[in-house]
């Protein structure tokens, strides 16, 4: 392929991926309510969004669930990565395979199987069930992110520490954690965006008491398009991009 052809092709694909998002962003600032015609710049839709209490509370719920699930998933995922890297124990390969299968499982299967668990335990659907479900969604991603970072550092440091009398806990606390901190934080941020992105798992595992943003947007989109949805989408994209750029920066740092 010639150089220009390559560039043109890349531009077409980026255009395909970004044009719709850019259009939404532009129209969140358009004062025309229904048509595509540009009727002047406005921030009204953002103001409307801010006043829409139902939408705002769903947004806050989404951020709460994303932060809590990311924290829990980071804890469990870091521990899983640590034991998989550091220890040899029965069933280690099974655990490995399990995490891989969890990562590859279609969202709808994760959602349905957890829904059945919650029904079997007679747990009312809401905050806690959604938290558990999003944690399950995120853990494998944290585990693989942190695990690949473990491969980066030499095991002799750990051996040296053990020779000097450090116990398993001290090794974890004083060597492993500081060295993997960027990956751990990066994993947290990825989990955070992963939870914000989710539609299918939220759809099945939360109840009417705890509404989250994607479900709210879902019902709004089905009822028709309103400009404040554009504004909301732009805000959500902003949060996602920030978290993503932060996590990329953290994960790259050590190279």
């Amino acid at each position: 392929m010639s150089r220009w052809l390559k560039r043109l092709y890349a531009a077409v694909v980026y255009g395909f991926l970004y044009l719709p998002l850019v259009i939404v962003a532009i129209f969140s600032f358009n004062s025309s309510k229904y048509s595509l015609a540009w009727k002047g710049f406005t921030l009204d839709w953002y103001a409307k969004l801010w006043q829409n209490t139902g939408l705002m509370s769903a947004a806050v719920n989404s951020l709460i669930i994303a932060a809590c699930a990311a924290t829990l998933a980071t804890l469990l995922g870091t521990v899983a990565a640590f034991i998989l890297h550091q220890y040899r124990f029965p069933g280690r390969r099974v655990l490995f395979g399990g995490l891989f299968v969890m990562m590859m499982s279609p969202d709808i299967v994760i959602a349905i199987s957890l829904l059945l668990l919650f029904l079997a335990l007679a747990l009312p659907l809401g905050f806690s069930t959604l938290l558990l479900a999003h944690t399950v969604l995120c853990v494998p991603f944290v585990a693989t992110t942190v695990f690949s970072r473990f491969h980066g550092f030499q095991t002799d440091i750990v051996d040296a520490a053990k020779d000097l009398g450090a116990g398993e806990y001290q090794v974890f606390r004083h060597i492993v954690l500081p060295l993997t901190a960027p990956a751990v934080i990066g994993g947290w941020l990825l989990s955070f965006t992963l939870s914000l992105d989710d539609v299918i798992i939220s759809f099945f595992t939360t109840g009417p008491d705890f509404e989250v943003l994607p479900l709210r947007i879902y019902s709004m989109v089905r009822l028709g398009i309103k400009p404040d949805v554009n504004a909301l989408c732009v805000v959500m994209m902003g949060i996602t991009i920030t978290a993503l750029v932060l996590s990329r920066t953290l994960l790259k740092e050590k190279k």
């Binding site: 092709y9 998002l21 499982s105 957890l114 398009i225 989408c233």
Partner: protein, 284 residues
């Protein structure tokens, strides 16, 4: 020393515990429910049956499943055809630009897919961007009906899932040792021959991983079919959701979910075989 090993046991034990409780047990419940009958008062009855799986083979359900598999399969193929050259260009771009270009692929990858579907509605609706542009260009006289068609669902799937294909392909292409291509050239292979005999086989695990990451979610994305396809539910995901939320037939929905997992298992096996074959060839 005793403290140390109890710390270790605590970590291993807790990991086993949550994985069993939140991944294995739910899945076993799903599997179990798929062999039960729909309950009268309760959610399921305790009568064991394979009728749910047989029902999946009945003409109406089976043709829906085939349509869904066809739609997801063509979407995966199109993502592969569009994504491979793109990942190739990306992997060859200058080292300075590459992180930025990659980030630009990851942003849509991580953006809420409902928001991206909504953005497509803005493009495809009767007075949307596509129709406005086509009308302005004089290519059409009346707006095209794009929304609520199978084509719209199809565009939605490709649009949403393309980054899921590009990222594993990019990773696989980056891992190809350029010395192998050099060796191929030295031995007289042309560009096309090099590509077919070296690059494609070496990136096969990436191709399968990408196909899996597009095909499986495409089967389940009921909201894309809802929003862009209108009333006709076209995907396995719509069927599963309806069984759970509309018809309250948990065993039937479970059986469909298990079938989807079997498809995943098959693709994972393919991936495993392709990676292993590659590993062996590299050793020889």
């Amino acid at each position: 020393m005793k403290n140390s090993s109890s710390f270790r046991r605590l970590l291993i034990g807790s990991t086993y515990f949550w994985m069993a409780g939140l991944a294995l047990v739910p899945y076993l419940i799903l599997l179990g429910a798929s062999f039960l009958e729909r309950g009268e008062g309760a959610l399921v009855s305790s009568h064991v049956t394979s009728a749910n799986y047989l029902h999946l083979l009945s003409p109406t359900v089976f043709s829906m499943a085939l349509d869904s598999i066809g739609l997801a399969g063509i979407a995966a193929l199109l993502c592969l055809l569009a994504g491979y050259p793109f990942a190739y260009v990306l992997a060859q771009s200058s080292a300075k630009l590459q992180p930025l270009l990659l980030l630009l692929v990851m942003i849509p990858f991580w953006t809420n897919s409902l928001i991206r579907t909504y953005a497509l509605v803005m493009m495809l609706k009767a007075d949307g961007v596509v129709n406005t542009l086509l009308l302005a260009a004089g290519l059409i006289d009346a707006p095209l009906q794009l929304m609520y068609t199978p084509l719209a669902v199809f565009i939605g799937l490709v649009y949403t899932l393309l980054p899921f294909m590009i990222l594993p392909l990019y990773a696989a292409l980056k891992a190809v040792d350029p010395r192998l291509l050099e060796a191929g050239r030295d031995l007289g292979a042309g560009r096309v021959q090099n590509f077919i005999k070296i690059t494609v086989p070496l990136t096969m695990p990436g191709i399968i991983a990408g196909t899996m990451l597009v095909f499986l979610p495409a089967l389940g994305m009921f909201y894309i079919s809802d929003i862009l396809g209108g009333a006709r539910s076209m995907l396995l995901g719509n069927y599963i959701r309806d069984q759970f939320l509309v018809f309250r037939d948990i065993p039937m929905g479970s059986a469909a979910s298990v079938t989807m997992t079997l498809a995943m298992g098959l693709l994972l096996l393919l991936y495993h075989l392709a990676s292993r074959r590659l590993g062996k060839e590299m050793l020889q």
